[in-house]
Amino acid sequence: MTLLTIKGMRVEFPSRRGHVTAVQDLTLEVAPGEILGVVGESGAGKSTIGNAIIGLLEPPGEMTAGEITLKGDRIDTLDDVQKRAVRGSRIGMIFQDPLTSLDPLQTVETQLIDTIRENLGVSQSEASDRAVALLDAVGIPDPAIRIKQYPHQFSGGMRQRVVIALALCGEPELIIADEPTTALDVSVQAQILDLMKGLCRDRNVGMILITHDMGVIAETADRVAVMYRGRVVETGTTEQIINAPTHEYTQSLISAVPPPGRRLARFPLVTYIEDAQERPEGLDLATHWLGQSRDYGAASETLLDIENLHMRFVTRASIFPSKRLFIDAVKDVSLSIKSGEVFGIVGESGSGKSTIARMVTGIYKPTSGSIRFAGQEITGLSRQDAAPMRRQMQMIFQDPFSSLNSRMRVRDIIAEPIHFHGLAASNDEAQKIVGDLLDVVGLGAQAAQKFPHEFSGGQRQRISIARALATRPRFLVCDEPTSALDVSIQAQVLNLLKDLQQELNLTMMFISHDLPVIRQMCDRVGVMRNGQMLEVAETETLFTNPQHEYTKHLLDLMPKFTGFGAQAAE
């Protein structure tokens, strides 16, 4: 017997400019104990399905057609009070970000007990016993002690376990997990996915797993529904979808996932998406920047040389030295990057990889150690002396939304570093450079007149790249440049970076937590954990013959998803 049936669901968001249809013609089924993966890119309507099932669509959104039945009961036509009775006790939900899903001002115990009592109507002491048992079930050590703590005392992965425990409080028959592991590190992600699989099996609970990550789907789901622009384009068993997708969109989506197993010259693009664009062919990059070439000398063999770099942050200040607390974000790291090389740094969050990038670009001042750029020591330089160095190195940040000033036009954003470093004689000249740069990154010169909010995440990241190129740098620091992007957009942006790196002979420091991406992009890789550089090796050597235990561990955790493209090629 099926647990959940959705027939012909349609969700609309009325707006002044007519109705926006977020989901249409949706038909899905979930059996008890089964995990149904719903996969798609941002804007495909995945989260809307979850909200519609549980009856929490953001107004003015509403379900305008179709029906949802849970074990034979219609649940979409219930009134508010009855819907609330369904939430929690029949359907549980897990959200993406464990850091914001818990009430910061109440203990885990209060949140669990109140939820249990509200849903099951049991006594305080029984609820308390159940709460401890639930924490134990989701794998939290010392549950009787930990339950008294507040959410901020748990790590990200532990918090997501608490969230799962809370979702299980009312003993639901169905769980909707909306990107449950997107905010977590790879190793934690694997544990949480295992936990969720085990819980579904043991408790015979059905699950809808909403994600954009094909790797997660491949490891967890029994069946998959692929969504594109509010419609399900294909449904099937996980094996069939991954190995023999029939729909064109599914095929290109799967082939766009960077394969962890081997290195490709270029990332395959999701050609099904209409606005996928490559930059115009035949642009001669040598003539850009108005024919000016870089005005600094030929690159030496080693461009960046870091020795014994150390960064210590004070986490508690005190007048007594013994009471002060520090965190050593980067401990004694040495590395050197050759001219024209792409050097990757990989590690989990908190490993200190971004801190290195920030010290190299001069955002942080290192506690000790030396950074030599093109043979010159840059750690002790004054602002003025550092300016010509800064011009030669530029940074691309992770979040394309917060790294562009939303009050400035694109032309001013890109022209800002040109003016700051005095690289153009006049504003007209600067604007010509801006136009050229926008052509180079594939946006077209007409984009200069617009504001950042008119662009999508991938396009904004292209603007960031154009801005980074504006000062004619020879060294680019890319800090997780594609982590916030969909897989199809990621492929485009990485291809662009790769092309630019080759054509302009750029040297790059490429920071990522994503091993497959690192493998495609980098010549050499350093692996970091807890501020220490554990291993540095040629990329292929690292992936085929890792030396350090931790590297082996990371490679083991890497999603085993090889992808349709890889299968087809074999």
């Binding site: 609330r84 006790s89 203990t107 939820t115 509200e118 507040y150 901020h152 809370l166 979702a167 607390l325």
Partner: protein
């Protein structure tokens, strides 16, 4: 936490010393104290002797030290106008002002929070819109005008409530209270409402804005998704999270209510410290002005300290030693 409180107390002492210095400067630079104290027919010798007796010939620092020491013990000298110790006058008037201020702060907080929560939850309801409109009026009308309008309506036209004074008071030790007699309570209504109105609208708008913010957070959505009733989400989850920033404002406003009761007290001829101060200004009664200045500063400093400690009570993220945080 202890080092934090220690630091705040230290800062408070510096603030108090600065205020004391300003208050002390009043004596030195606003008129000649001897001239203010004696009549016109006092001889020069008598004046010099008085000057010597009062220690006005000592150096600046000695005099300031003496002033600060006396002030710390609550001694501000003798009022020129009333010929009585200032501390006695203030102790006599303080209950009236404190009763008025606390009652109106209570009204403002209780009604303000209630209306803030209501308008945040029922954003489009007719009653919410009415409250928002009224609050706009409350925030734009100056206090003296509200007071006069209330007097006109309830005192002159309807003749329901008295328009000035405190009514009958009952003496409880040194504290005189108007809360135990009908006429005292009746006299309190109009000034308390006048004083509360502005704070109430401020608190209401603040609570509403914060609450709307909190209702959009993930943990509220997650609470709904696991079937918690609206009442629980609104009051146990959302309101508690709303209170963190609201506490600061309420604390500061309580100080403001006490300090700026002057206008209300003048309009309603309320026999409190504000009225005493206004009369002192008119008569250049410097000891009272100095004492009032120091006392109001003390009230602000103490309230601020309490607010800071309240943060720790409300927000567990501050309470726990950061070193113990798991990573």
């Amino acid at each position: 936490m202890i080092s934090f409180i220690f630091k705040r107390v230290f800062q408070s002492v510096i603030v108090m010393l600065t205020v004391a210095l300003i208050a002390f400067a009043l004596f030195r630079f606003v008129g000649d104290p001897v001239n203010n104290m004696v009549g016109q027919d006092t001889t020069l010798e008598e004046r010099a002797e008085l000057r010597d007796r009062l220690g006005l010939d000592d150096s600046f620092f000695v005099q300031f030290g003496r002033f600060a020491k006396n002030a710390a013990q609550g001694e501000f000298g003798i009022s020129y106008q009333h010929r009585r110790p200032v501390s006695e006058l203030i102790a006599e008037r303080a209950p009236a002002t404190l009763e008025l201020a606390l009652i109106s702060a209570f009204i403002a907080t209780a009604i303000g929070i209630f209306m803030g929560v209501y308008t945040a939850i029922h954003r489009t309801a007719l009653l919410s819109r009415a409250m928002m409109t009224i609050s706009l009026i409350g925030i734009s009308l100056p206090v003296f005008l509200t007071g006069i309008l209330l007097i006109l309506l309830f005192g002159v036209i309807l003749r329901w409530l008295p328009t000035f004074g405190r009514g009958e008071v009952v003496q409880l030790g040194w504290w005189s209270t108007g809360l135990l007699t009908t006429s005292g309570l009746k006299a309190l209504i109009l000034p308390a409402i006048t004083l509360a109105l502005f704070q109430m609208t401020l608190i209401m708008r603040l609570v509403r804005a914060e609450m709307l913010e909190v209702l959009r957070t993930d943990f509220v959505k997650f609470g709904r998704a696991r079937g918690l009733p609206d009442r629980y989400i609104h009051f146990k989850t959302a309101l508690k999270n709303t209170m963190v920033p609201v506490i600061t404002i309420i604390g500061l406003q309580l100080g403001a209510v006490i300090a700026f009761a002057i206008v209300t007290e003048t309009v309603f001829q309320w026999p409190g410290m504000g009225l005493l101060f206004i009369q002192a200004v008119r008569e250049v009664d410097i000891p009272i002005m100095a004492a009032y200045l120091v006392m109001i500063a003390l009230i602000f400093v103490v309230i601020n300290l309490i607010v800071d400690i309240l943060y720790y009570v409300v927000d567990p993220r501050l309470r726990v030693d950061r070193a113990a945080t798991g990573h």
